[in-house]
C-alpha cells in the first residue's frame, strides 16, 4: 500500500522537518511559498543568501526575513527563538554540519511551543533523530535532448523541471518517494508519478 502524498505534504505544522540533497533549497523555497505569514530564513554569513529573483516563482521574496547568524550554534539558537515566538509561518535554517539529538529535540519542542513549522536544510546524513520527517530532494535527470519534449501547452521552462522527493524518515508512517514539479500558475506542487512506495 502506497503512502498518499497528501498525508505527508504540506509538511505537518508545528513540527521540525529536515531536507537534504542537491535540490533541498527548492524544497525549502516551495515550503516558504506555501507557508502563511512571514518566513524566517536563517543562514551563516559565509554562504551567499538565497537569490530573491530565483525565489520569486515559488515564494514572494518580500515575506522573507533573512537572518545571518555566525556559527552553527547561533543558527540553531536563532531558529529556536524564532520558533518559540510564533510570529513566523515557517522557519528555515541552513545548517552546515550534523545536528545532535539534543539540538534536534530542542527545535522540535520550540516548534510545538510556538506552533510554527521548522525546516532544516542539512547536508547529506547530518540530520537528528528528533525530526518529524526527513526528505531527500534531487533533480530528475532529464533525458538527453529532451528540450522540446515537455508536454502541455501552458508550461514554461521552469515548470518542466522535475524533482525526486524521497521521504527517508517519517516518525509516524512509512517511507516513499515521488517525482514532483512546481506549478507556478496554481502555486502548488503537482505529483507527476509515484516513483516508489
Amino acid at each position: 500500500m502506497s503512502l498518499p502524498f497528501s498525508s505527508v505534504y504540506p509538511l505537518k505544522s508545528a513540527r521540525a522537518h529536515e531536507v537534504c540533497g542537491d535540490a533541498g533549497l527548492v524544497f525549502a523555497a516551495i515550503g516558504a511559498g506555501l507557508a502563511k505569514g512571514p518566513v524566517v530564513w536563517i543562514s551563516e554569513p559565509r554562504l551567499p543568501t538565497v537569490n530573491p529573483e530565483g525565489l520569486a516563482p515559488y515564494c514572494d521574496p518580500g515575506k522573507l526575513l533573512i537572518t545571518r547568524a555566525e556559527g552553527q550554534l547561533n543558527v540553531l539558537a536563532s531558529a529556536e527563538t524564532a520558533l518559540r515566538s510564533g510570529a513566523a509561518g515557517l522557519v528555515v535554517a541552513e545548517v552546515g554540519s550534523a545536528i545532535g539529538l539534543t539540538e534536534g529535540r530542542r527545535l522540535q519542542l520550540a516548534a510545538e511551543a510556538g506552533r510554527t513549522t521548522a525546516l532544516l536544510v542539512i547536508p547529506e546524513g547530518a540530520g537528528s533523530n528528533a525530526a518529524e520527517t526527513r526528505w531527500r530532494c534531487s533533480g530528475v535527470p532529464a533525458p538527453a535532448g529532451s528540450a522540446t519534449a515537455s508536454p502541455g501547452p501552458r508550461q514554461n521552462s521552469h515548470d518542466s523541471t522535475l524533482w525526486r522527493w524521497s521521504l527517508i524518515k517519517n516518525k509516524i508512517g512509512t517511507l516513499s518517494e515521488w517525482v514532483v514539479r512546481w506549478d507556478a500558475a496554481s502555486h502548488r506542487v503537482i505529483v507527476v508519478s509515484e516513483a516508489g512506495g
Binding site: D22, G54, A142
Partner: protein, 492 residues
C-alpha cells in the same frame, strides 16, 4: 516688573573642581599645553600667594614655587561641570544661562521672594557654594551687564535703578570691553565707566566701533540683552533603590516592571518611543550588570518591553543581591499616537518583537529583508536592508529565469575551452564529472559599462540553463570575448 539678574562668577572653577575630587594641602595648579609649552591654566590661592599667575609656563612657575603640585587641566570636563552648576542653579529660578567658561546668569525676576528676598538669596547661593568648596562672586542688578560688572569688580547688590551709581567708579573693563579698547580709552583719559558715560556719545561713536556704546547701553539697560537658557535635556531614565537586596528572577522582573511602566508613561506624554534601552543592576558588592535591548521599532508598550527583557535579565548574575535598578532609554524616536487595526496591529507587533529577539542575539543589523533593485546584472538585482528600518517589498518583478542560489563565478574544467557557443557536453565542476543533458539559452547579458566592476572584466556573457544527467540544474555562462565557461548559480 523690573528684571533682576544675578551674575555668578567662579574665579577658580577649574582648580576647585579638581581639588574637590582630590584635595591637596600645597600650592596647586592645573596645566594646559598652550603656545608650545605647558602653562598654568588655573591655580589655587596658595599658589597665587607664591607669585604664580595664569598663563605662566610651568617651568617658570616651578622656579618660583618648587613645591607646586600640578595636574593636567580638562576644559571639557570643566564645561560639563559648569552645566551641572547651571542645572543646580535652577533651584533659585527657572531661567539660567551660561556666561563664558566660568560664569552663570540667573534671571531671578519674580522669584527672589521665594528665598526670602534678594539678600537672603545671595547669601544662600554663597553659603551652598562655599560648602561644596567653590569660590563664587555674585553681582545682582537690573541688567546682565551691570550684574557682570559687579560680580567681577565690586561684589554686591545694585538696587533697582542705581546701576550707574554702582558701576560708575569701576574701571572700563567692567563693561566687557576688549583690553585693546580699554587701553586706548585710558590713553584719552577715560578710566572709569562714569567718565565714559559723561562725554558726548557722538565723539565715542566716531572714534570707536559701536561695541563700546553698545556695552554701556546694555549695562545701563538702554539696549536689551538676552540670556539664553540651557536646553532642557530630555533624559528618559528611571531608577529604583531597594531597601533590601533582591536576587530572584521574579522579584527583579517585578521591580523592572515598575521602572518600565514609569518610563513608558513618560514616553507616552512626550509622544516618543524607545529604540534602545538599558537596564542596569547594581549589586550589593558595587558591581554593575547591565542588559541592553535594541528594538526593531520604536515603542513604549510596557508589557512587550518587559517580555523582551526577560531573556537578558534571566542571564544576569545577581551575586549577593541587587539593590538598585536603573532603566535608561538610550535612543528615543518620535512615536505619535495612531489608530490600530486590531488584527493587523498585533501581527506587525509580533514580527517586530521577533526581529528584536533575534536582533538581540545576532545583532539587529543581521536581520535583513530583500529589496528589488533596478538592474539587469543578476548579482545586483537585489539588496539586503536591515529589517528594523524597512518595510517588506511590495511587489517583486519575476519574469527572468534566475537560479535559486547565486555565487561567484567558478570556472569549469575538463572541457576544451572555447569549444563552441553551445555548453560543453561534459565538464567537471566542484570535483564532479557532469554530463549535459539539456541546455536552454542563451540569454546575453552585457556588463554595465558605466560601472566599474572587476567581476565583469571578461566582457559580455551568454547565460545557459544546463540540466545535467546527474540531476543538477546549473546556470552556466560563456564569455565570447574571452572564451571560457563558468558556473554562477544553482537552480536546485
Amino acid at each position: 516688573m523690573q528684571r533682576r539678574i544675578v551674575s555668578l562668577w567662579f574665579p577658580r572653577l577649574a582648580a576647585e573642581r579638581s581639588l574637590r575630587a582630590r584635595p591637596v594641602d600645597a600650592p596647586f595648579a592645573l596645566t594646559l599645553f598652550d603656545r608650545n609649552s605647558e602653562r598654568i591654566h588655573d591655580l589655587s590661592p596658595q599658589a597665587e600667594e607664591a607669585g604664580l599667575q595664569r598663563g605662566m609656563t610651568l617651568v617658570h612657575a616651578r622656579s618660583f614655587c618648587p613645591g607646586l603640585l600640578t595636574r593636567p587641566a580638562d576644559p571639557v570636563a570643566d564645561q560639563r561641570f559648569l552645566r551641572l552648576l547651571a542645572r543646580w542653579a535652577t533651584r533659585y529660578c527657572p531661567w539660567v544661562g551660561l556666561d563664558g567658561n566660568d560664569g552663570l546668569f540667573l534671571d531671578i525676576t519674580g522669584s527672589a521672594h521665594l528665598m526670602g528676598g534678594e539678600e537672603a538669596l545671595c547669601d544662600d547661593i554663597r553659603a551652598r557654594l562655599a560648602r561644596s568648596g567653590l569660590t563664587a562672586r555674585l553681582g545682582l542688578a537690573d541688567t546682565p551687564g551691570t550684574a557682570w560688572a559687579l560680580s567681577r569688580f565690586a561684589e554686591g547688590i545694585a538696587p533697582s535703578g542705581e546701576a550707574l551709581a554702582r558701576i560708575g567708579p569701576l574701571p572700563l573693563a567692567a563693561l566687557r570691553l576688549t583690553d585693546q579698547t580699554c587701553t586706548s580709552l585710558e590713553r584719552l583719559g577715560i578710566a572709569t565707566v562714569s567718565e565714559l558715560h559723561n562725554i558726548p556719545r557722538a565723539t565715542v561713536a566716531r572714534r570707536y566701533d559701536r561695541n563700546v556704546l553698545h556695552r554701556l547701553d546694555q549695562a545701563l539697560g538702554h539696549s536689551p540683552e538676552q540670556i539664553s537658557p540651557l536646553r532642557d535635556e530630555q533624559t528618559f531614565s528611571v531608577r529604583i533603590t531597594l531597601p533590601d537586596p533582591i536576587g530572584l528572577l521574579d522579584d527583579v522582573m517585578a521591580a523592572s516592571r515598575r521602572l518600565i511602566d514609569h518610563l513608558c508613561t513618560r514616553l507616552d506624554t512626550m509622544q516618543k518611543g524607545a529604540r534602545s534601552l538599558r537596564l542596569t543592576f547594581r549589586r550589593v558588592d558595587q558591581e554593575d550588570r547591565s542588559v541592553e535591548l535594541k528594538l526593531a521599532r520604536p515603542m513604549r508598550d510596557a508589557e512587550r518591553i518587559l517580555t523582551l527583557f526577560e531573556r537578558g535579565v534571566s542571564g544576569v548574575d545577581a551575586g549577593y543581591g541587587i539593590d538598585m535598578i536603573r532603566l535608561e532609554a538610550l535612543e528615543v524616536e518620535p512615536l505619535g499616537m495612531r489608530q490600530l487595526d486590531r488584527a493587523e496591529g498585533r501581527e506587525k507587533d509580533s514580527i517586530a518583537d521577533l526581529i528584536t529577539q533575534l536582533g538581540n542575539r545576532v545583532g539587529l543589523e543581521n536581520i535583513l529583508r530583500f529589496q528589488p533593485v533596478e538592474s539587469h546584472i543578476p548579482e545586483h538585482s537585489f539588496k539586503l536592508v536591515p529589517a528594523a528600518v524597512s518595510h517588506p517589498a511590495e511587489s517583486w518583478p519575476h519574469s527572468r529565469t534566475r537560479p535559486l542560489r547565486l555565487f561567484a563565478p567558478e570556472p569549469i574544467s575538463g572541457s576544451p575551452a572555447g569549444a563552441g557557443l553551445e555548453p560543453p557536453p561534459r565538464f567537471r565542476w566542484r570535483g564532479r564529472a557532469l554530463t549535459t543533458s539539456r541546455a536552454e539559452g542563451p540569454e546575453r547579458i552585457t556588463p554595465a559599462w558605466w560601472e566599474d566592476n572587476d567581476s565583469w572584466a571578461h566582457g559580455l556573457r551568454d547565460y545557459w540553463r544546463v540540466a545535467t544527467c546527474q540531476g543538477q540544474n546549473l546556470w552556466l555562462f560563456h564569455t565570447p570575448q574571452n572564451p571560457a565557461w563558468f558556473v554562477q548559480g544553482e537552480f536546485g
